[in-house]
Amino acid sequence: MKARVTVTLKTGILDPQGKAIEGALKSLGVDGIASVRQGKVFDIELAGADRAKAEAALKAAADKLLANTVIENYRVEVLS
């Protein structure tokens, strides 16, 4: 089973990397971009086939290590 955990900075948390990317896009002349926030994506292969178990495991993974919930939110998706 494939799954994806997406970790993003909470709103209001300064994201200097996102800001730098935003500035670079503007200087490259890419139009229509209001702002950029950078995050992380974890593609995870799960051993079992139980969806509920997989979601619980991914949530534990995000809470324990993948995200720092002081500054980050995360989203868990079981893809297939």
Binding site: I13, L14, P16, Q17, A20, K64, L65, N68, V70, I71
Partner: protein
Amino acid sequence: MKSAILVFPGINRERDMARALKLISGHEPAMVWHAETSLPKGTDLVVMPGGFSYGDYLRCGAIAARSPVMDAVRAFAADGGLVLGVCNGFQILCESGLLPGILMRNARLKFICHDVHLRVERSDTPFTRGYNAGQVIRVPVAHGEGNYAADEETIRRLEGEGRVLYRYCSATGEIGDTHNINGAAQSIAGIVNVRGNVLGMMPHPENHVEDIMGCTDGRGLFAGLVAHLERAA
């Protein structure tokens, strides 16, 4: 003073730290590998040195903070044992929950490697008793993610409880945006936990302890710890 230096894969300041501790306390510190589950008997001080544990993968200090030895460090800190985290050590302390907040990417995005001035905010703690309150010291920094951040409530508590021990400042002790090298909240360079026995700081006092280094302002931190432990004994 019996000290233990935690050694995580990827760190590179453990020997500077060991040299400083040996020089000032007279005792060779124990090197403790991150996979250990206990600290040497009789340890007075646990030090988490700087460097790049796990190559700063995921988030600085995140993986090291979950290593086996950290349970022993948590128990040691809960018993009132002294814990010092410098640079990556500070990041590990925040990631492990032993200190609040987090170290974000430097506000100007650059890796900073030069001497800075720090104002010692108070002298009545184990980590600052080698200095006078308000004293300005000069120590080096070397970090890309030292921008201390926490929610407003946490910052208020840190300030209200006098838990900011070191702050970035000018050579004459002024605090302000121009001296705040990495954009840290309230120019914070070092904080302690509620109980006052766990200090995290971004600058490297261990790199200013001998004349050959051009400055010995970092000695006070270690000398203060030695004096504190001698008095407690």
